[in-house]
Amino acid sequence: MMLENLVWGYVYPNESEIQWSILIVLYPYITGLVAGAFIASSLYHVFGKNEIKPVARFALLTALSFLLVAMLPLLVHLGHPERGIEIMFTPHLTSAMSGFGYIFSFYLIIVVLEIWLSFREDIVKKALSSHGWKELLYSSLALFSFDISEKALHDDEKFARKLAIIGIPSAAFLHGYVGFIFGGIKANPWWSTPLMPIIFLMSAIVSGIALLILLYIVAMKIRKHAIDHKCLQSLAHYLWIFLILDVTLELLEIISMKYASREDIDIINRLLSDKIGFTFWGVQLTLGILIPFILLLMVNFIKKRDTLKMIMISISCIFVVIGVFAMRWNVVIGGQEISKSLVGTLTYVPVFFSREGVLPAIIIFMLPFIILRVVTAILPPWKDMEEETQKLD
């Protein structure tokens, strides 16, 4: 494509290349799914919403699987990936970027501890009942402590609850921080807003719950196990509530920008009508929020007919996860498509085969699902449900 088609107006000479590619779109997307899945699990662990119990442990494993991959797109994108770890050892605290390593690691520890406590009883039982390498695996996972007396389990539960209480602000902080990375850039009018962390957080919760619902339905179909419709509809209800909060904040940002009409409004208007017009109004708001909002509202009014409701919820969730991806795209790519001169625009053209191209993004995005498959094989999260069904039988 000719350069003239990609650039409009006056742009600074150094801006001809878009610096943050699709991998940086993927980074807040994956981090958001982590935060959302974790907060969904806390609905049970902290707020005692028992109807969420069937997916509570699965949600933790989902959060872990995505968390393990969250820093990968960043690492691949770095000009010097081999120096990436130095951000932990020689941080420069005036840069918002320097906090990533600490916040990420702290949160990883919380999630791993939370999972360990939730699964400790299962791990110990498996360690005691298996032989050979499996015994060794589960014994090591149990840290060679096999006390599952009632008191020990009670203590576990108490500690897990406390941990989950710390976990919620940590999850909020992890993703709010990602929002701040963008919101703190005063040079960019599309990014620079104090609302950014909270917008990121709400869309994270929305995408995390939607992904969890989809994964739960798929997992139950694979295992040929009945779906707990009460749990599903309860999750859908929370999704609906967070969708409202999400869209309120997203629209609030646009409305205040348009109403205040500062000097950068012309370039913002051009961005919204031309550069990201379709992905913003069409995908992010209509497909990703408005349609799921209406569908989930209808689910509330339909009596019985669980299968129909499940289909409507699934469609909503698919639209929501696509919509949130579009939101990340519109922020990361959209923000770079306006020139710092504020009188010109640029165009991001994704490349398929390159280190920062679409192919590595697809591979990275497939990894958490593979990790989740392995983790759920080692630590099956469905035990409670099955025992309960067996009792019913």
């Binding site: 290349e17 020689t90 005063k186």
Partner: protein, 114 residues
């Protein structure tokens, strides 16, 4: 990381052995002054020809400018030519509202260059 640093004589430079190439500084620069050096894999910027000015030479662009539109000098020295220009001429900054306190001054600039 802190790969960007200010030298004792006031020049902002990038330490190429230290920069991880995250490009956050490029996003943060309101003037498009920074770019990604694909050969080095790090962020990069104008160095004011640091290799020349530390030897008493002028930056290459100042020396090569056919009309003498560019001036370069030591702002710490009160009697320097650049300080006189800043004191006496009608000078302006780019995007002063962002509070970046740039050290590039424009003479007779009514509005930003577009």
């Amino acid at each position: 990381m802190g790969a960007t640093y200010t030298t004792k004589d006031g020049v902002v430079l990038v330490d190429y052995d230290y920069c991880i190439g995250c490009r956050y500084c490029i996003q943060g620069c309101p003037y498009g002054a920074r770019y990604f050096n694909t050969e080095k894999g790090t962020a990069d910027k104008c160095t004011w020809c640091y290799h020349r000015i530390t030897k008493g030479l002028l930056p290459a662009c100042v020396q090569a400018c056919p009309t003498g539109a560019r001036k370069f000098g030591d702002m710490l020295d009160k009697n320097s030519e650049v300080n006189k220009i800043i004191d006496e001429e009608r000078i302006n900054l780019l995007k002063p509202d962002l509070g970046t306190k740039p050290k590039v001054f424009y003479i007779g600039l009514d509005r930003e260059v577009k």
